[in-house]
Symmetry: C2
Subunit: 220 residues, 2 copies
DNA sequence: CAGATGAAATCGTAGGACGATATTGACGGC
DNA sequence: GCCGTCAATATCGTCCTACGATTTCATCTG
C-alpha cells in the first residue's frame, strides 16, 4: 500500500550513482560526462539528466552550467557544518526513539547484530551497510517521517568516501561501538543517556576531522 | 565568484512553481499536467520534467508513476513532524548566531524593519517575504552553510499555504513578533534566551496546528 | 613564452515518437 | 438500479535527434 509502486529509471540511476559512491566506483570530485554515463548505464540522456538533477538536490553532485556535473567533494568546513547539522537531527531521532518506548526494538537489535557480524569481515562496504541499517532503524523507531527526508545521510556518504583512505580500523570499530551505545540507550528508553551517546559519537567524529590531513578535503 | 554563474531554465521553472505556491497561484493538492505547464511556462517538456524532479527532491511536489505530479498537501501528522524537525534546525541556527557575536546585525535589523513595515500592509505575500528574509538572515549570521540546504523551509511553505484561509491576523502578528524576539536575543548574543525564543515560537505554532480544522489538512 | 584563435567537446533546451499505464466512461449481467 | 468487465482516451516514461551556447584545449602568431 505504502510502497511507491514500480521503480522508475530515474531512481535506479540515482541509486546506482549513490551506491557507486559507497563502493568507490565513483570518487568525490570526479567529473561526470553525460555521454559516457548514458552508455555505461544503458539509458537515455533525458533520464540521466533527471537523475543528476535529483542528486544535485541532495547535494551529492554539483552541476555547473555548460561544464557538467561532478561528484561533490567537501571542504573541511563543509564537513564540520554537515556534522553540526547531522548531530542535531540524530539527537532528535534518539530522543524521540527513547521517549516513546516503541516496540521495534528487535529491528534495532538486528541492525546491531549485523554490525558485529560484518565488523569481523572488516569490509568497508559492510561498514556502510551497517550505518545505513542503523539509521533506517533509528528513524523508524523515532516515528518522525520528516527526519529521513531531511537528514543529509547521502551527503555524509561523501564524507565517508573522502576519508576512507585515512581512517584506521580502530576508528571504524570505535564508530560502530558508538552506534551500539546509541541503540542500547534508545532501547532502554533512557532519553538523557541516548542524547549523551549521540553527542559522544559526534564529538569523536569531530576530533577525527580535526586530525585528518588537508589532502582528504577539497580546498576552500 | 561564489555566484552560480548564469541561471538556467530548470531553476527558473522551479522558482516559478515555488513562488506560485506562495502567491496562491498553485494550491497544495493541485494536479500538475506536463502538457499544460509546458504551454503555460513556454518551455519544453525536458526542462519541465527536470524542474519537477528537482522539486520532488525538496518534497514540494510528489510524482506518481504514470499519474503525474501534484503539489504536496501535508497531513496534520506530517506538519507536526515537519515542525519538530524545523525547530531543531532553527534552534541550532539561533544558538550559533547568538554564540558567535557576528557583525551582520544590520541585516537582521533590516529584516525586522521590513517585517514591521510590511506588517502594516497586512498582505500575505509580504508575510511570506518577511519570513524568507528572516531565515536567510538567520542562516547567514549562524554561518553554517549546511543549514540552509537542509532546512525544509520550502516544505513549510506548503504548510503556510494550506493554513492560510484559517489563520487570523492576530496569529500572523504573533508569529512575526516571535521572529522579532528571536532576532533580538540572537543580536544580544544571549544563547539561552535565543533558544527559548525559538522554542516559544514553535510551541505557539504547534498549538495553532492543534486548533486548526481537519479540512486544512490532507487525509492520512 | 604570452596571448589570440579556432576546432572539438560538452552541455542546455527543444521537440517528436512510441510503448506503458491509469483513468474514465460505456456496456452488459445480476 | 448496482456492480464488474472492457475498450477508449489521456497522460506519463523513456528514447531519440537536432542545434545553438559555452567551455576547453591545442594551435598559431607575435
Amino acid at each position: 500500500m505504502n510502497a511507491p509502486a514500480t521503480i522508475g529509471t530515474t531512481e535506479k540511476v540515482a541509486d546506482a550513482i549513490r551506491s557507486g559512491i559507497r563502493t568507490g566506483q565513483f570518487v568525490p570530485g570526479q567529473h561526470l560526462v553525460e555521454a559516457e554515463l548514458t552508455l555505461r548505464l544503458g539509458i537515455s540522456r533525458s533520464s540521466l539528466r533527471e537523475a543528476l538533477r535529483h542528486l544535485s538536490g541532495d547535494g551529492i553532485v554539483a552541476i555547473h552550467r555548460y561544464r557538467g556535473a561532478h561528484i561533490n567533494r567537501l571542504t573541511r568546513r563543509e564537513v564540520r557544518d554537515l556534522l553540526e547539522v547531522l548531530e542535531q537531527l540524530v539527537r532528535l531521532a534518539a530522543r524521540l526513539g527513547a521517549a516513546s518506548g516503541h516496540a521495534n526494538r528487535s529491528l534495532m537489535d538486528a541492525a546491531l547484530h549485523a554490525a558485529r557480524r560484518h565488523d569481523e569481515d572488516g569490509d568497508h562496504r559492510s561498514y556502510i551497510a551497517v550505518r545505513q541499517a542503523f539509521y533506517d532503524c533509528l528513524f523508524e523507531v523515532a516515528g518522525n517521517r520528516e527526519l529521513p527526508r531531511v537528514t543529509p545521510l547521502r551527503r555524509a556518504d561523501l564524507f565517508r568516501a573522502q576519508i576512507r583512505p585515512y581512517q584506521t580500523r580502530a576508528q571504524q570499530d570505535s564508530h560502530t561501538e558508538g552506534y551500539r551505545a546509541i541503540a542500547q540507550t534508545v532501547n532502554d528508553g533512557n532519553v538523557e543517556a541516548a542524547e549523551a551517546a549521540v553527542a559522544a559519537l559526534f564529538a569523536q567524529t569531530h576530533a577525527m576531522v580535526d586530525e585528518l590531513p588537508d589532502v582528504a578535503f577539497d580546498v576552500d
